[in-house]
């Protein structure tokens, strides 16, 4: 939506946590004088206050993690903070939610597959379409390019909620017959398939994606593009050989942001997935479990932890890209 924050992390990469840390190190080396001033600013009280906030922020997640490894009986009868008095660790909760085929277990395996399938394709479609559109806006001259680009940009203001009802109607009129036909031809593909969720995610992602990628692709030095054109390269060749390789960092940032966004999404899934284990992602299944079995904490904690492990892994592994993408798309939806 507002692209606002996208501006901040550029340049010296100020928005990223690592970038900030690097800056810190630099100041300490360069100016001992400024370091002295800063040191006096961080008083003991401030450190203690920061520590308290940090602990407060961690406790809820920590409690969830501990509980997910405790035996069901203990989770239901004792608090997780009494772990030392009521000792006991087990992997049964995870085995139960992932592998058990009994009717009462949540059977998360199928939903994990759905989450992966939805996030993967739901990221790739808008990425490809947006890169092409961004290239056109940046390097193909045409009348009305400016106005059209502003219109695309402005579409970010539209909240998802404005699009849901009519889009669902469109899908049930036009997409449903195609899904039914596909099911007839290839019976192992269920009639309710991923297509509506993929398409919905792709459509909602495009305004932000085009805007971000355009900003980056337009920065490619015009000499490079001109040189290629003089040598007789077509737009297709320029796009694949020059623009794509050069725009990789921006593409990666957006891809990671979009992947996490789709993975964490609940609203789009609720409306377009149909809610069966053929399509529904992990988040939808978990939300449903909270509603129907809100007391089975050993299952809820294990399930919730499974659902947050992938975003957390991406967060810790690809922090720089993640922060950049997140700041850029923080108000999407």
């Amino acid at each position: 939506m507002s692209i606002a924050p996208a501006d901040l992390p550029t340049g010296k990469d100020r928005g990223s946590i690592e970038g900030a840390a690097e800056t810190t190190a630099l100041t300490e080396v360069v100016g001992t004088k400024s370091a002295r001033v800063k040191k006096r600013l961080t008083s003991r009280t401030a450190t203690i206050a920061a520590l308290i906030i940090a602990v407060l922020w961690t406790i809820p997640t920590f409690g969830l993690l501990i509980s997910s490894f405790r035996p069901a009986e203990l989770v239901r009868t004792t608090g997780w903070w009494t772990i030392f008095e009521n000792w006991g660790f087990t992997l049964d909760n995870y085995r139960d939610v992932l592998l058990s085929t009994s009717q009462s277990s949540p059977q998360l395996g199928a939903y994990i597959v759905n989450s992966i399938a939805i996030s993967l394709v739901g990221t790739l479609i808008p990425l490809v379409l947006a890169t092409m559109a961004a290239y056109a806006f940046a390097w193909i001259k045409f009348k009305g390019a400016g106005v059209l680009f502003i219109l695309v940009f402005a579409l970010q203001i539209v909240p998802l909620q404005m699009a849901l009802v009519p889009l669902l109607q469109i899908f049930s009129t036009w997409l449903r017959p195609m899904q039914a036909w596909l099911h007839d031809v290839v019976p192992i593909i269920p009639e309710q398939n991923y297509a509506p969720v993929w398409l919905a995610h792709a459509m909602f992602a495009l305004p932000l994606a085009i805007f971000l990628l355009h900003n980056f692709i337009a920065e490619i030095p015009s000499e490079v593009i001109e040189a290629a054109r003089v040598d007789g390269a077509t737009h297709g060749q320029i796009f694949f050989r020059i623009v794509l390789p050069l725009a990789t960092p921006a593409i990666a940032s957006f891809a990671i942001f979009q992947f996490i966004w789709v993975w964490n999404d609940l609203l789009v899934a609720l409306i377009f997935s149909g809610g069966t284990q053929d399509v529904a992602p992990l988040t939808q299944r978990l939300a449903e479990m909270v509603g129907s079995r809100g007391q089975e904490w050993e299952r809820l904690t294990a399930g919730a932890f499974i659902s947050i492990i992938i975003p957390l892994a991406v967060f810790f592994g690809l922090q720089r890209y993640f922060v950049r993408g997140l700041l850029a798309g923080s108000t999407k939806g």
């Binding site: 100041t27 923080s330 939806g333």
Partner: protein, 322 residues
């Protein structure tokens, strides 16, 4: 999940990617082979058309249609009933009031805590780790956060041992356990805490970067003038990061106006906790009141609009100054 199911899913992904690759490949192939006359035009169409078609079907047409549906009965006649309902029914009014409470509290509190934290840890040892801790919740889905906090708010009746941390604290101090999620209006504030928990990290990272942009000379000069830490913070640091503060506040406001998953997961909007985005879903997709749902969506859009416009204006001004 049987093997056939898994195979079907795999096949869908492969087919989906194949269709995407084929469409894009063919488009670009034909673009390059287009007749000399009007080639530029065809190239433009090839690159731009797929995205524009998606946008037209997925956003432009639906947004217009929703705006019209908001003024129609289920039979298709023009009416203002949907808006009358929104502003007169007690439950609907409560939804609006809750949304206002959310949007007043979440941006201010998360920004305040985020700013304080950013100042406290600025240039301290282990700053990076401090940041990661506060920032982590932002990677977690709202559904995951909802479960994490429902567990904190869990209630056990009578003399049974409390397994929710908050009730354990209440009983440890001799209080009676509270059914937090059912207690109106406390429950709305407890849901708001979840959103604050998520958004504070975002505020902190942006403000921390801004604080590092405040020139050391200014702080040093203020120090020579004999100011104390608080005076320096109010008179030097805060004016220096005003732009970032506005961006953070507006961005979190927009996210808060659209909050859906937290309410849906934790209370489903029951016990007087509903907000506009949740009520829109409930009306349009659970109660089949498409007109009311559309009216709520339109109200949401109108609430978000001025904040976004303001946000863009601020950014444009900042860019001009630079």
């Amino acid at each position: 999940m049987t093997t056939a199911d898994l195979l079907g899913k795999l096949l869908q992904v492969v087919m989906g990617l194949a269709v995407l690759a084929a469409v894009v490949g063919l488009l670009i192939f034909f673009i390059d082979k287009a007749p000399k006359k009007g080639r530029d035009y065809w190239q433009l169409v090839g690159f731009l058309a797929p995205a524009l078609i998606f946008l037209a079907i997925g956003l432009v047409y639906p947004a217009i249609r929703t705006s019209l549906l908001a003024f129609q009965t289920s039979g298709g006649e023009w009416t203002l009933d949907n808006f009358v309902w929104t502003f007169t029914q007690p439950t609907a009014i409560r939804t609006l009031i809750n949304t206002v409470i959310w949007v007043l509290l979440v941006p201010t509190v998360s920004t305040a805590i985020g700013l304080a934290y950013a100042v406290f840890i600025d240039r301290s040892r282990g700053e990076k780790y401090y940041k990661v801790i506060l920032f982590m919740p932002i990677a977690i889905s709202f559904v995951g956060a909802g479960i994490i906090w429902r567990f904190v708010y869990e209630y056990r009746s009578g003399d049974r041992e409390q397994i929710g941390l908050l009730n354990a604290i209440v009983t440890a101090f001799g209080g009676e356990p509270v059914q937090f999620m059912q207690t109106d209006p406390l429950n709305t504030f407890l849901l708001i805490i979840v959103m604050i928990w998520i958004q504070t990290g975002f505020a902190m990272v942006l403000l921390s970067a801004a604080i590092k942009g405040v020139p050391t000379e200014q702080i040093e000069a203020a120090q020579l003038d004999g100011t104390n830490g608080w005076q320096r913070f109010v008179n030097v640091t805060v004016p220096g990061i005003r732009g970032a503060l506005v961006v953070v506040l507006t961005t979190i406001s927009i996210a808060t106006l659209k909050v859906f998953d937290i309410v849906r997961t934790m209370t489903a909007g029951n016990f007087n906790t509903s907000v506009i985005a949740n009520e829109m879903y409930t009306q349009a997709f659970r109660a089949s009141e498409v007109g009311r749902g559309s009216a709520l969506a339109l109200i949401l859009f109108l609430l978000v609009l001025p904040i976004v416009v303001y946000n863009i204006n601020v950014l444009r001004k900042q860019r001009e100054i630079r």
